[in-house]
Symmetry: C2
Subunit: 207 residues, 2 copies
């Protein structure tokens, strides 16, 4: 399921990972972590899924945690780029919030297996890695708060609790990774469109 998913995105996922053997191990790790959980997965399982020996894995990743950290870092970097691009983009706050939600939903739908690992295995990261990831999440939150705050300041939105509303908007989009099913009746873009409409209502855009 997820191996197919990994090649479906509009950009080639994991293209930032080289050499190809390391990329193959990362894709195998995502599949294994999503299927069995981080703690139930061994580096031997991951090497086996990638058609490699454990010794070959260690050339690229010293520990299982290093694999998780790499996955989490790439996923969080991507999320932050999407949200900051939307926040910094052209257009009104309404247009930018609409774009942020569509992009964030699409990522969580198209890359739902990766997103589940990224979102649900934070506790398994080593402390210094967790600190780094938490900082990326803080900046993602800030990007959404900024769009909403600017919409309020411009008189486009009517929101009394900006941090709480930003939290809810991100949470709504993130949970797409849990329920989205590639065999289901809605495409990632359709979910993005539905959700962008609901979020614009949450901030009372255009009322």
């Amino acid at each position: 399921m997820s191996t197919a998913e990994e090649t479906d995105g509009e950009n080639t996922p994991w293209s930032e990972v080289t050499p190809e053997a390391a990329r193959r191990l990362l894709v195998a790790a995502v599949d294994a972590f999503a299927e069995r959980g981080y703690h139930a997965t061994t580096t031997r399982d991951i090497a086996g899924r990638a058609g490699m020996s454990p010794a070959a894995l260690y050339i690229h990743f010293k520990t299982k945690e290093e694999l998780l950290h790499r996955i989490s870092r790439i996923g969080h970097d991507r999320a932050l780029t999407l949200l900051e691009s939307a926040a910094d983009g052209e257009g009104s706050a309404t247009e930018r919030l609409d774009g942020a939600v569509r992009a964030f939903v699409r990522w969580h739908a198209e890359r739902h297996t990766t997103a589940r690992v990224v979102q649900y295995e934070l506790d398994a990261l080593a402390e210094e890695h967790r600190t780094e990831i938490v900082e990326l999440r803080r900046r993602s939150d800030a990007a959404v708060r900024r769009i909403i705050g600017e919409g309020v300041a411009a008189g486009e939105f009517d929101v009394s609790d900006v941090p709480g509303t930003a939290l809810a908007v991100l949470s709504l989009c993130i949970d797409v990774a849990r329920w989205f099913n590639a065999q289901g009746s809605r495409t990632p873009d359709e979910v993005g469109e539905l959700y962008a409409g609901l979020v614009l209502r949450m901030v009372a855009a255009g009322r």
Copy 2:
């Protein structure tokens, strides 16, 4: 963390489970599954956490899957009861949707450790148990759709995609289990109030 959580609810959680040894095992299983994942947890781990021998565990639960099924069944029964009570209750659709969201959010916040296991370990259930749980989830969805549909019919709400909006409402509430932190700045009731307000905007109540 979660053991404390389990005694914090307004009703005594797991009170439907008897005898006390079985209840103790269930609480231990929730903690272990939440911390390490279902597949990384052994019945020996669970018995140990409960201060019991593996042999004593087998008197109450024949397999690890039976423990997960019991947890999942109780959690889903509770969710369904909350949502159907709200749907069948007195008052306008606006009042009933408000009540449903507050109750559903409160459950996912107060019982966040249990809710994570209930929501994230569905794939680990045996097929016949999964079928049973999927049916409970279908009925929960239906309760929320019914409230929204009745609100539209009564002219209280303006919603073009009732199933999609119901899905989003449930998803928003469920994801509280992922991010809610008992040490955080918002109480379960405060999150419920915020979310009820956002959901009523999603359905354009009172516009």
